[in-house]
Symmetry: C2
Subunit: 126 residues, 2 copies
């Protein structure tokens, strides 16, 4: 048995200026940019969400700008196989996560638990 749930949404920005991209989305959504311990090494800026809410992050990318979602799980391989049975395709394995493509065409990622409420609220799959 393993567990998974929607982790959140990543706002992928094709930009050389991650700080400006994060500032726009922070102001647009009224969600502060969380301090990053290593801002120069990270391609991500997390926006502060309320407790229990899905994560919203701004990411600097080299592909076209888009929005994608992440599914968090305590067993990435089992979750990828579950999603393959539903019709999703495995695209690539990047560091600690797997990129998949939905039968409806969107790319999404399967990641380790990100949200503080993973254990009590995630779905269990037999």
């Amino acid at each position: 048995m393993h567990k998974s749930q929607l982790a959140g949404f990543i706002i992928d920005c094709e930009t050389d200026d991650l700080e400006s991209a994060a500032e726009f989305w922070s102001a647009a959504l009224g969600m502060a940019v969380e301090a990053d311990p290593n801002p120069e090494e990270s391609a991500y800026r997390q926006l502060e969400s309320r407790p229990g809410e899905v994560h919203v992050e701004v990411q600097q990318v080299s592909h076209s700008s888009r929005v994608h979602l992440d599914i968090e799980t305590d067993d990435i391989e089992a979750e990828v196989r579950r999603l393959e049975k539903l019709g999703a395709r495995r695209i690539s394995h990047i560091r600690r996560w797997v990129v998949m493509e939905a039968p409806t065409g969107q790319r999404f990622c399967v990641v380790h638990p990100q949200r503080g409420n993973f254990e009590p609220t995630a779905n269990s799959w037999a």
Copy 2:
């Protein structure tokens, strides 16, 4: 003064089969599809989220599949002007909402309040 906040995310699916698209995302995310009072007239299927969470909906579209976000507000024109000052562009006015494009390239919509917790949690803008 007006208010706004992140309303949620719409999974736009280029498909002739909205039910199958909604079923995939429902199963992938472990979120039930809410009953729609007029399923044949609606291009949307809402997934059940927990109280206070952002909305997640599956939409049948004719453009390429993607994910977009909605900002909800009690004053659409004032919110669109606020977002224009931040660098977003107004693209089109469709029925009851406005489509905008972020300076980072993503399209998003400014809509009337959708979430049950709009009044207590939305951000106030002078």
